[in-house]
């Protein structure tokens, strides 16, 4: 397998009046596992299909190692793809399905045999080689699809929501298996999904997409800890980040974020960063897991407090989600472990000031 970087330059793809992909610039380094993450219709699958050669972009270019492949048909790109529906050919045995790409490349017979067995071994389907797809379960068919994809040692491995048709348990298992597989064979991988958990656990890098544009590219930590805008902040993390409209107010030498129903004091560094927003409205963002009922707050966490009333409680066993009503606002707090909260009771919540985000109201971009 040789070194392959993938570069997308100003990719645009339209379908009739809809612009599915609206100017995508992306670089994928050799051996990287990058996830295109976003809601349905954000253009991630279309982008993937352009990389595969199944769609021709209207504008822009695609480069494999600086070679312009934009107009190359799929078969000449040495890519492999795992389809959402697996696309395992029903009239061929599993062995023939996996061998197909090799046969097309006129690989000698014994080499084919060796490689098919190797791929089957990797995906633990060696006993299924003689069966037909309709005799397999969905999960097994998915493995066949993956085996087929890796058997040629492609330059780029593409995966289009390969786990979405599996049941929840299988999905979790396959997540780690796919990631381990990719690490072993070190192929440049581009993976499309709408499931942020998949993205966070599998990707070396995540490219969050919405409405045909890339919102942010970064490691899972960067995406989680430093979201570039409200979309990314809201898309990653469950339950969703709390967003509150606040005004920047300075009073008596101190700075505050005033939400009307409550007000929190901010440090001078934060005030400095927000100095252009004096008197203006911004969006405060804080993740449920970074808010704590004051009696349960860890010792090293410091921050402003808010008084509210318990509106609703979701007991998940491993965590407890508390919906807190503060005036007209509803804040969601995620507490680790199983705790009891009485509906309607008063509650004081502390925000971890170091994990607070502020977003510009019009551009939705992060200021902090």
């Amino acid at each position: 397998m040789h070194v392959v970087n993938v570069r997308l330059e100003n990719l645009v793809k339209r379908f009739g009046k809809t612009v599915a992909v609206n100017g995508i610039n992306l670089e994928v380094k050799h051996g990287e596992f990058i996830v295109l993450l976003g809601p349905s219709g954000c253009g991630k699958t279309t982008t993937l299909r352009c990389i595969a050669g199944l769609e021709k972009p209207d504008e822009g270019r695609i480069y494999f190692n600086e070679r312009d492949v934009t107009y190359l048909p799929p078969k000449d790109r040495n890519v492999s793809m795992v389809f959402q529906s697996y696309a395992v050919w029903p009239h061929m045995k599993v062995y023939d399905n996996i061998a197909f790409p090799l046969r097309l490349r006129k690989v000698p017979k014994d080499e084919i045999d060796r490689r098919v067995k190797w791929a089957a071994e990797m995906l633990q389907i060696s006993e299924l080689l003689d069966r037909y797809p309709h005799q397999l379960s969905g999960g097994q068919r998915q493995r066949v699809a993956v085996a087929r994809a890796i058997v040629v040692e492609p330059d780029v491995l593409l995966m289009d929501e390969p786990l979405s048709n599996l049941d929840a348990l299988l999905r979790v298992k396959m997540r780690s298996e796919l990631k381990k597989l990719q690490r072993r064979i070190k192929v440049t991988t581009i993976y499309v999904t709408h499931d942020q958990v998949e993205a966070m656990t599998m990707g070396d890098k995540i490219a969050v997409m919405n409405a045909g544009r890339i919102q942010q590219v970064g490691t899972p930590e960067e995406i989680y800890l430093k979201p570039a805008n409200t979309f990314v902040a809201g898309f990653v993390g469950t339950p969703q980040m709390n967003f509150v409209d606040v005004t920047v107010v300075s009073e008596g030498g101190k700075s505050y974020l005033d939400a009307g129903d409550f007000r929190i004091e901010v440090s001078s560094d934060v005030a400095e960063a927000l100095k252009d927003y004096e008197g203006k409205g911004v969006i405060l963002g804080i993740r449920p897991e970074h808010m704590y009922p004051i009696e349960l707050a860890p010792k090293n966490v410091k921050g402003p407090t808010i008084k509210g009333v318990v509106d609703f409680v979701e007991a998940l066993g491993s965590d407890t989600i508390v919906h807190v009503r503060v005036g007209s606002k509803l804040l969601v707090v995620k507490v680790s472990g199983s705790h009891h909260f009485t509906l309607g009771s008063d509650i004081v919540v502390m925000l971890d000031i170091s994990k607070m985000h502020v977003f510009d109201k019009s551009s939705t971009k992060a200021i902090i």
Partner: protein
Amino acid sequence: MGFTSKNKPEAFSLTQPSKIEKFIPYFLIAPALSYLLFFIGYPLAQAVVLAFTDSSGHFTLAHIKYLLYSPESMFYTAFKDTLALAAVIIPIQVMLALGFSLLLSTNFKGREFALYAFVLPLTISDVAGGLIWYTMLSTNGFFNKMLMAAGIIASPIQFFGYQYRYMEFLAIVIAEVWRATAIVFVIIFAGLQMISKDYIEAAEVFGAGTWEKLRHIIFPMLKPSLQAALIIRTLFAFQVFGVVWVLAGRDIPVLAGEAYYEQTELYHYGVAALYALIIAALSVAVGYIYIKMFRAQYLEVGR
């Protein structure tokens, strides 16, 4: 839809099916079924009777003898010509229909219009088709005029008339290919549509060029449709009548044409019935061969 007729829940399951309810479907179907059985069963039986009895009702082989030995009987020619027409026309149609289907399988501007155009001949009868091509190919027809105006030929190419029998054969082939390809096309196209796009795209990604796609993916998955199309088309081909009559009259005798002629001109009901039986026998035989041929390689195509 995920339901097949086998596992679709029985309708009207609000109440336990009463005794009468069980028989309702049979009542609904009975009239149509009996009509069909009569209108097809009776003539079938009657045809056998007619073929082997003479005017006084006694068993006779006279009709067969007439068919095979009489100098007026064009049986051998008709048999040969019918098969020849089928052998020439059907492969061309299948290939054209496949080609059209593949062309139309991708999305492009004007696809809907092209689809309507390909489907249009479905509604044109074989007589009309023959007449249209008569317009095209006759001495003063479009084809000749165009070639003469372009200076390619000096005098018109004759397609019709007894001395040009081979040209008449060609004209019939052209007319039938033009008209009846739509029938094959519709079946194959529908079959092609049913092949999930993913299977073909996967082949593309994994290295298949056009020919390999066709050979390894599309053809195998099209087998059921091809089989249906071939059976239908061949059955119709054995009954070819109107177009031949219109373009060549009896210059090119065909089985159905002879049946018609014997029936309406010569009043040889027995001979006509014999022709009918032969056509039926041919159809059944060929149908059987097709089914056997395709079943051997027929693989269950999953959803």
